[in-house]
């Protein structure tokens, strides 16, 4: 006799709402007249995200916290709900950036008709008719739903399903840029192929772990691993699953898609994806490693340590030689993955441990990267966005506010005090050092020094260099984008000056539960 598992809708409705909004978006796309679609989609997405955020806050404050539901497939614990909220916050910003139509003469950053081949008459017709893809909003909502599930997945299957739900829309969104479509499509293909491989590897690892533990539940795997840790099935499984997650976060040696995708994707997508994916992937990674493989710390810690070291060094050094601002931020994202992995090496303690450190880092990085890419989308020439760094020279003089705000984001990523990035960096380093991982921390400090060089170089370029003749101009965005940039900047400074409330929230949120 099969009994259906009990589902606690009281705690899961924010996730279901977001997925529901995504489905509703598909319906709108099918039945609403073209003229009404844009407004309908944007308001639907915004309303859904706001409601889901309110729900997540309510769940986080409620008594349901610390329970699992669906036979342990979903775990509603402090870190999970915190990262869900963070994903929703960043996605609200993402929707605002997606909806930006003022920068590009009244059209969005997405291709008029993705099916029209670049350079054909079909594409010209599409752009003449002013078509635009409004499917991006349901696609984004599906991805957000997947990310929210990813943050709270308590068993292996759920983890895999969530991974796919969040990944597939991202592949599509990457390929939808209105300008430089070939670059965008190439990036999408690369992302899809590598992503599909990594999913396969992840699934293979998952099967091995199931073979070892005889259970999908992370908590039960954790118990089994504590009893018999030397099983080759388990070790191989850990390795293969790690590959899948390291790919998603863009860690070396699985980082090669990052700069291409960051550069090729429409900038609003890059802004939202770079923040949200990282949050979800690290939330899942922390849970997987601490809950299921926590007993195997001695095995995976050195391996992750090596990956962290390589990621930091390679990300930081490759970022130096980039001439395109989006690629540079892409490699900087790789370096940040390394810093986050450094935090993963720490131990999960009751007070300010590695979970808290990584989540704070994600908060700081999320706002900084969202804001930074939003600014990148403002800097334009006659042919759309200008990524080439030498055309950014003198931008801080012609547009002091934009230059200064971008500098704030860069300084936060560089980890200077009085910005959120500093507290974040302090936290992950402290977590790793607390676990005795001082060689990794030493490398992390070295990579931070390298990283500062390329962040500061951009600031130098903007403020201390004379403007060239073909200097990029800054377009005036709509209010939505301005608000996103302003709020990200405020959050970046505020979290650096008064991080206390968020830190306390994280400490109160506690650790992951099995």
């Amino acid at each position: 006799m099969f009994e259906s598992p009990g589902i606690s809708y009281a705690t899961l409705w924010p996730v279901l709402l977001v997925l529901g909004v995504a489905c509703a978006g598909v319906v709108v796309e099918a039945f609403a007249p073209r003229a009404a679609r844009f407004n309908a989609q944007v308001s639907l997405a915004l309303a859904g995200l706001v409601a889901a955020l309110a729900g997540t806050v309510a769940v986080g404050a409620g008594t349901a916290l610390g329970a699992s539901t669906g036979e342990g497939a979903l775990v509603i614990d402090g870190p999970g709900v915190f990262s869900q909220g963070l994903v929703l916050l960043v996605s609200l910003g993402g929707v605002a950036l997606f909806a930006e139509r003022r920068l590009d003469n009244g059209v969005s950053a997405f291709a008029g008709q993705a099916a029209a081949l670049p350079g054909t008459s079909a594409e010209r017709t599409a752009s003449q008719r002013g078509l635009e893809h409004t499917e991006v909003y349901p696609l984004m909502m599906f991805a957000v739903g997947g990310m929210m599930l990813f943050c709270i997945s308590g068993d292996l299957l759920m983890l895999f399903v969530a991974l796919e739900v969040l990944s597939l829309p991202l592949y599509l969104l990457t390929g939808l840029a209105r300008r430089r479509r070939l670059l965008s499509q190439e990036a999408a293909l690369k992302y899809f192929l590598l992503g599909a491989f990594s999913s396969g590897i992840f699934l293979y690892g998952l099967a091995l772990v199931y073979g070892f533990a005889g259970s999908m539940s992370l908590a039960e795997i954790g118990e089994a691993a504590a009893e018999d840790g030397s099983s080759p099935l388990l070790l191989l499984g850990i390795g293969l699953m790690a590959v899948g997650l390291l790919f998603k976060t863009g860690a070396v040696p699985f980082h090669s898609w990052t700069p291409d995708v960051y550069q090729g994707a429409p900038t609003p997508v890059t802004a939202w994806m770079s923040a949200a994916t990282k949050i979800a992937a690290f939330a899942a990674m922390l849970r997987l490693f601490y809950v299921a493989f926590g007993a195997e710390g001695e095995i995976w810690r050195p391996a992750i340590g090596v990956v962290a070291v390589l990621t930091m060094l390679l990300g930081a050094s490759f970022a130096i030689v980039q001439t395109d601002v989006k690629r540079m931020l892409g490699y900087s994202a790789v370096a940040h993955t390394g810093f986050l992995l450094t935090g993963l090496l720490g131990v999960q303690t009751d007070a300010f441990g590695s979970t808290q450190a990584v989540l704070f880092y994600l908060t700081a990085y999320g706002f900084a990267t969202l804001g930074a890419f939003a600014i990148v989308s403002l800097v334009r020439g006659p042919n759309g966005e200008v990524g080439s760094l030498d055309r950014w020279a003198g931008l801080g003089r012609t547009n002091p506010w934009v230059g200064a705000t971008f500098a704030v984001f860069l300084l936060s990523m560089a980890g200077l005090p009085l910005t959120a990035g500093f507290i974040g960096k302090w936290g992950v380093f402290a977590a790793a050092l607390g676990a005795g991982q001082w060689p990794v921390v030493a490398v992390a400090i070295g990579s931070s020094i390298i990283a500062i060089f390329f962040y500061v170089r951009v600031i130098m370029l903007m403020f201390f260099t004379d403007a060239r003749e073909d200097v990029a101009t800054v377009s005036t965005p709509s209010y939505a984008t301005s608000v996103v940039i302003a709020l990200s900047a405020v959050a970046t400074v505020l979290l650096g000056v008064i991080p206390g409330p968020v830190l306390s929230l994280l400490v109160d949120a506690g650790g992951f539960i099995g």
Partner: protein
């Protein structure tokens, strides 16, 4: 009250940045207000201690001891003077950054919490970076980058020490960053040594000390002289301040362990800086390199770790600030007249600019440690402690005086003596504004030269417990 002292220049920086009308006057007003606040807090200022980031054990804790008082005094006096000197060649951005720099520098001198100290320590770099990068010579952007890379590199190493303290203090119970709490911690010998090395590297870059001094000459060459004054006379003092407050104060045993190496580095800085200064043709580089030599002496005084040495080092920090500020400003005035910093292109200016030549000579001789001028007392105290440490160290350190006489007098000879050049336009002497800037500095040089008592009595109580701890450690 102490928080106000930090807030006044900080708010001033924001006001100056946005004020459309007369921003420089506003900035000067805030600098004067800071000066007054600084003087008031010197007599009546309760310590501040508010919990800031509870999970990290960070307190917003400020206190002002005798050492802090001297450094605060130096800072609040120099900033308005420099602003007057800077008025012609700088726009309001520079004034805003200067006030921000003052705010953060004061915060480092007042911080009773290591985390607060660190934040201020790093935050000073942002205004300094923009001050160098936005005003100055043709290669200023490169110099600014070099400055920032060195400083932030040092800062991140210090971050390692900061985190090390957090880990140790967490293990000992609740984490706390209060310097008084950290001083009571029982740190293992190995950890203590690593922490010392990390802190010392950061402070050596800041101070600067051989071999991490190379940013100094480039920066002083490219930056405008008012920027250099703030950098060398205020900001770099944070390095030696940290050596005393944090290296000796928190990890005395490791400091004693590292003393031989530090002394060697200090000696190299003393001689190397002076020798390089002698050979310089660029007047600004020359002054920058003399500071390398002087910071070597200060470090020597600190680590020789006798009562005289430490008091001498603290005095030296104040006096060097005054004398070098005068040197830089005079050099700036001179360069503004000649349009170049190259010594070989100047000659025989004595006749045309007697006041300029006279002030240059006084300030120069002060940096060379002429008796009767302020630096003499501190130099003697440092040298005595050097001889106490080891006679050879003393002998090498004494060469600093000889070398200093050479670079000062030779520079004077090349610039001011000899046949006057026949130039197209005559070189004017100092005007009233410029004299007004220099007079307070020169008065201070003479006053503290003859009456060093107040400085010594301010430094004494700070030094005594440090020396006791160190001698107990040895």
């Amino acid at each position: 009250m102490l928080t106000t002292l930090v807030l006044i220049p900080f708010v001033g920086a924001l006001v100056t940045a946005v004020m459309p009308a007369r921003p420089k006057l506003w900035a000067f007003g805030f600098a004067i207000a800071t000066l007054i606040a600084g003087l008031v807090t010197m007599f009546t200022a309760p310590d501040t201690d508010v919990v800031w980031m509870e999970p990290l054990g960070v307190h917003w804790a400020l206190e002002m001891d005798g050492f802090g008082k001297l450094m605060v005094l130096l800072t609040v006096v120099l900033v308005p003077l420099v602003m007057v000197a800077a008025v012609k060649d700088h726009d309001k951005r520079w004034y805003a950054w200067a006030l921000a720099l003052e705010a953060f520098a004061l915060l480092t001198f007042l911080a009773a919490d290591l985390f607060v100290f660190y934040i201020a320590f790093e935050a000073t770099l942002i205004p300094a970076y923009f001050m160098i990068g936005q005003h100055g010579g043709p290669n200023r952007a490169k110099a600014a980058l070099k400055f920032l890379m060195f400083q932030l590199g040092g800062g991140l190493v210090l971050l390692g020490a900061l985190i090390g303290f957090f880990v140790v203090s967490s293990e000992a119970g609740a984490p706390s960053y209060l310097i008084s709490d950290l001083a009571r911690l029982d740190i293992g010998t190995t950890a203590e040594r690593w922490i010392f090395v990390a802190m010392f590297i950061a402070f050596a870059v800041k101070a600067p000390l051989f071999p991490v001094h190379t940013w100094l000459a480039d920066t002083t060459e490219q930056a405008t002289t008012p920027t250099s004054v703030l950098l060398v006379c205020v900001l770099d003092k944070i390095g030696t301040f940290g050596m005393i407050r944090l290296c000796l104060g928190l990890v005395p045993e490791a400091s004693a362990w590292a003393t031989p190496v530090v002394i060697v580095l200090a000696l190299i800085s003393i001689v190397y800086g002076a020798v390089l200064a002698i050979g310089q043709d660029d007047l600004l580089r020359l002054i920058g390199l003399t500071s390398l030599s002087h910071f070597g002496l200060i470090t020597l005084g600190i680590f020789a770790a006798t009562r005289e040495g430490l008091v001498g080092a603290i005095l030296y920090m104040v006096n060097h600030g005054v004398a070098t500020a005068a040197m830089f400003l005079i050099a700036g005035f001179l360069i503004a007249r000649k349009g170049t910093a190259s010594i070989s292109s100047m000659q025989g200016l004595e006749k045309a600019t007697p006041v300029l030549a006279g002030t240059f000579l006084i300030a120069g001789l002060a940096t060379a440690g002429l008796p009767g001028l302020s630096q003499f007392v501190s130099e003697i105290m440092v040298l005595i402690s050097a001889f106490d440490y080891h006679w050879l160290v003393g002998v090498i350190a004494v060469t600093a005086i000889v070398l200093a006489a050479i670079y000062v007098l030779w520079a004077y000879q090349r610039i001011f003596t000899g046949p006057a050049q026949l130039s197209r336009r005559p070189v004017r002497d100092l005007d009233r504004r410029e004299v007004g800037v220099l007079v307070p500095l020169l008065v201070a040089l003479f006053f503290f030269g003859f009456v060093p008592g107040p400085l010594i009595s301010a430094a004494q109580p700070v030094v005594a417990p440090l020396v006791d701890v160190i001698q107990a450690g040895e």
